[in-house]
């Protein structure tokens, strides 16, 4: 029964999301939808590291930027076909993520956060200064993959391309979540030393999660490059994009498959709305900051657990339905008092 309603909810959500281009009132809104969906891809990708291992990377824009520039440069400088360039950029970033991960994952907690920020700042400087190759602050124009398409159709096509990438990322996250590998990663999140003493090869596990996360983020960046067609280091390698990924995942709930997606829908729509309302001012940043504060204060585990907890209150309690023997009840009471005492 619960599975059926879960599946129904999933199907409704998917249909509502995928039909968006059909009921979107104008191309501008459709393009905002593409942005929101790209956020969903990025924060879901971030969650391979942040959600499973608890390593909070604030510098995931590094992978977003590398994926975008990798794709853009391969097309603009080497004449590689668009989608081959996207795939190649993914491979290149995966290879780069190995040595970077080996270095960055040696430190934990706040130190890891600082290292991740340093990474994105270094890349920002490199891509700004290496003008002859990257185009620097003048930007890099990425040729369109579908030159014949009109702009509104272009948005629709990319909406579905992002949807496909999101589906693949979600499937990968789900596969890991239920696997032994995933349980090992979660053990790292809970207590890394303890996990290692139980036999989990923690470093290798973290590195694999890191590389997978970087690769999906890079693919998101590459797709963004193909869609947007114009890259600027200050935007691609921004701390802000990295913080958005974290904020969205935290808001939705990092322990849940759909947490980052839900967070991206809420925050992404809010950001796009704030941008539209406050135009050129930076007020949308203030609004986003306030949102983050509210989440941390009232829903430390994100929206999904908060809502689920609320729903749980309205469900019939277990003991009122199930028939229990006296012995069962005694045992249950005994364990409950112990649990209560602990609290």
């Amino acid at each position: 029964m619960r599975n059926v309603s879960k599946f129904a909810a999933l199907l409704t959500g998917a249909v509502a999301l995928l039909s968006f281009p059909l009921w979107s009132p104008n191309p501008y809104i459709t393009s905002a939808g593409v942005v929101v969906l790209s956020y969903a891809v990025l924060s879901t990708s971030w969650n391979f590291v942040g959600g499973f291992t608890g390593y909070m990377s604030l510098g995931h824009a590094a992978w977003f930027g590398l994926g975008a520039y990798g794709t853009g440069l391969l097309i603009a400088r080497a004449g590689v076909p668009s989608f081959l360039a996207l795939g190649l950029a993914g491979v290149i970033v995966a290879l780069l993520a190995v040595p970077i991960g080996i270095a960055a994952l040696r430190v934990r907690g706040a130190s890891f956060v600082i290292v991740s920020i340093a990474l994105v700042l270094v890349l920002l400087l490199v891509f700004q200064s290496w003008r002859s190759f990257t185009g620097g602050s003048d930007g890099l124009v990425v040729p369109r993959p579908f030159p014949d398409l009109l702009r509104p159709e272009h948005h629709v096509v990319f909406f579905y391309l992002f949807a496909v990438l999101l589906a693949v990322a979600l499937l990968a996250w789900w596969t890991i979540d239920r696997s032994r590998f995933g349980l090992g990663l979660k053990a790292i999140r809970e207590d890394e030393d303890k996990a290692q003493s139980l036999g989990v090869p923690t470093f290798a596990y973290k590195l694999v999660a890191f590389v997978v996360s970087a690769t999906f983020t890079a693919l998101g960046g590459g797709l963004y490059a193909l869609w947007f067609g114009d890259l600027d280091p200050i935007f691609q390698f921004s701390i802000l994009i990295g913080s958005y990924m974290v904020l969205m995942a935290l808001l939705g709930g990092v322990r849940h498959l759909f947490g980052p997606l839900l967070g991206a829908l809420l925050v992404g729509i809010a950001i796009e709305y704030f941008k539209m309302s406050y135009g050129d001012t930076q007020f949308h940043l203030v609004a986003t900051g306030l949102l983050l504060a509210v989440v941390v204060l009232f829903m430390p585990d994100g929206v999904i657990p908060a809502v689920a907890g609320l729903l749980q209150r309205f469900r019939p309690q277990q003991s009122s339905i199930r028939e229990v023997t006296a012995a069962d009840l005694l045992e249950q009471n005994r364990s409950e008092t112990k649990v209560e005492a602990r609290r």
Partner: protein, 245 residues
């Protein structure tokens, strides 16, 4: 006793100017219940950490069953067959009791890594250990909601799930009530009877004397006496370390 278990030779670890473990050479009796005792700060836990790879020793060697395992990463020590619990008990608080135990399963190959963590055979095995320590009725409870004593039992079940031949327990009786201490002691005896070696750090002298076959006394980072419980109890060096006479 001819079989060689865990041995250390001249194991040394210094923190700043403090020599926490000082040229400690110990040969534990394989197949028996060994106890490590000593005053607070005598280096017992640092010694444990050096042996299990949590800390890299400055010098000296650790060998297990004739193989040198010095400075190996903790997961490789675990793979060699040494399990351990932690002082003050460490569990995975935001995972269920069942998941806590399943986390000790060692997957083989890519297929093993991607197989469901809740594979029926492993779940059954996990349930077996939970039943053995007496908390199988709490399988679906989040570990952080257990009482301290239950968490200690859970930690033990997790260690056992990895199926170690040698189990190192850091203060198994610390902070738990007398009834539970008896239960843990009985379990240790049982598991020892099934062929598992124990190395136990403990302050509860009554427990040490009744449980162990072999006692090693640490003071200032090195073993100062060892032998059967009775002889250690009357050793003048031990009395001096404990009472300062």
């Amino acid at each position: 006793m001819s079989e060689q278990g865990l041995t250390t030779v001249e194991l040394t670890k210094t923190f700043g100017g403090v020599c926490a473990v000082d040229h400690a050479s110990v040969a534990f009796h394989h197949g028996r219940i060994n106890a490590v005792i000593g005053p607070n700060g005598s280096g017992k836990t640092t010694f444990f950490n050096c042996v299990t790879g949590m800390i890299r020793p400055d010098s000296g060697t650790v060998a297990y069953r004739g193989r040198d395992v010095t400075g190996r990463a903790p997961h490789r020590i675990a793979a060699a067959g040494i399990g351990r619990s932690f002082q003050l008990c460490r569990i995975f608080p935001r995972m269920t009791v069942r998941e806590n135990v399943l986390a000790a399963v060692r997957p083989r190959g890519l297929a093993g890594l991607l197989r469901s963590a809740h594979d029926p055979a492993q779940v059954e095995r996990a349930r077996g250990w939970l039943r053995r320590v007496g908390i199988d009725h709490l399988e679906d409870v989040e570990a952080r909601d257990l009482s301290y004593g239950q968490q200690k039992l859970l930690e033990l079940a997790g260690v056992l799930m990895a199926d170690p031949e040698t189990i190192m327990l850091d203060e198994p009786a610390g902070g738990v009530n007398p009834a539970l201490i008896d239960r843990i002691a009985a379990l240790v005896r049982e598991l020892n009877g099934e062929g598992r070696t124990f190395i136990v750090v403990e302050h509860n002298m009554e427990l040490v004397m009744s449980l162990s076959d072999h006692v090693v006394v640490f003071d200032r980072g090195r073993p100062i006496a060892e032998g059967p419980p009775d002889s250690v109890r009357s050793d003048p060096a031990v009395l001096e370390a404990y009472l300062g006479v």
